[in-house]
């Protein structure tokens, strides 16, 4: 697939996008900045790093020019600070439910009837229900977040950060295949 091989200019632009997001620069403004870079390097034939320096440093200057308050610390710290207690609880619930589902599928595959004192099928159903609710919440939140503060190309009005179909397919397929493998693995122990 051609789109997976990125030029250094595209990689620099992606770094800048992330650096601006981490500095809480509004999405529409990020679109302006990315379009300015594209337009400038097309005109001068320069490499973005040559004309604008390191993506992180340039993001600092843009945030300063916009008067966006810069929270201190590196990108790692900023990312950690942006996580809420709800995110952590959500992660723990998803992890436990996924474990229960995997264990339940294994038990069903192996022909065992009980798991943790529950019938194996009911453990699977409970885990499926919890996972379903959690995933729906995440997808809903991600969609509304994107609509609220999308990185809009000022020239076309298009969303500049598209989530490619193959990425969606991968995100759905990997967990499903893993769970199927659990049932198969259980069946092999019979």
């Amino acid at each position: 697939m051609a789109s997976t091989r990125k030029s250094t200019a595209q990689a620099w632009s992606d770094d800048l996008l992330l650096a601006l997001r981490l500095r809480d620069v509004p999405g529409a403004r990020i679109g302006e900045v990315l379009a300015e870079v594209q337009s400038h390097v097309a005109e001068t034939g320069e490499d973005p790093r040559q004309a604008f320096g390191e993506a992180d440093g340039y993001a600092d200057r843009v945030a300063e020019a916009l008067g966006v308050p810069t929270s201190g610390g590196g990108p790692g710290r900023r990312l950690v600070r942006s996580l809420s207690g709800g995110d952590l609880v959500g992660s723990a619930v998803i992890g436990l439910a996924a474990y229960l589902l995997a264990d339940g599928l294994w038990s069903l595959g192996a022909g065992e009837t009980a798991l943790l004192g529950l019938p194996a099928w009911s453990a699977v159903l409970i885990a499926l229900l919890v996972l379903g609710v959690a995933v729906t919440r995440i997808v809903t939140a991600a969609r509304s977040g994107r609509a609220d503060d999308a990185v809009i190309d000022p020239r076309t009005g298009a969303d500049m950060v598209t989530f490619p179909r193959w990425a969606v397919a991968l995100l759905v397929a990997v967990p499903l295949l893993s769970l199927a493998a659990m049932a198969v693995g259980g069946a092999l122990t019979r």
Partner: protein, 114 residues
Amino acid sequence: MAEERWPGEWMRGVLSLCVLRVVADGPTYGYAIAARLADAGLGVVKGGTLYPILTRLEAEGLVSSSWEAGDGGPGRKFFTLTPAGAPALRERAEQWHVFTERAAGLLSSPAVPS
């Protein structure tokens, strides 16, 4: 002409005003502004320095911007002086003249041997 290189602190002081002056000549875009500054003998101004200055001028309401489609290219962002920009440019340019005259006056006074 040899490439001029001025001390960074001088450029930081005057660049914003010079950019405002270039935009006052009519709608223009980033690369053309940089070329105009280089022609004026102010040296090479990189995109990484120029665009944050334009962003700040726009946030101050002194310039406005709009995108124009390029011929097959990624388009150009044109900057225009706003009605508030004209008096601000006049006032700051006058201040700058006074400032540089005073600095030049001091620098050209003969050193008094003690």
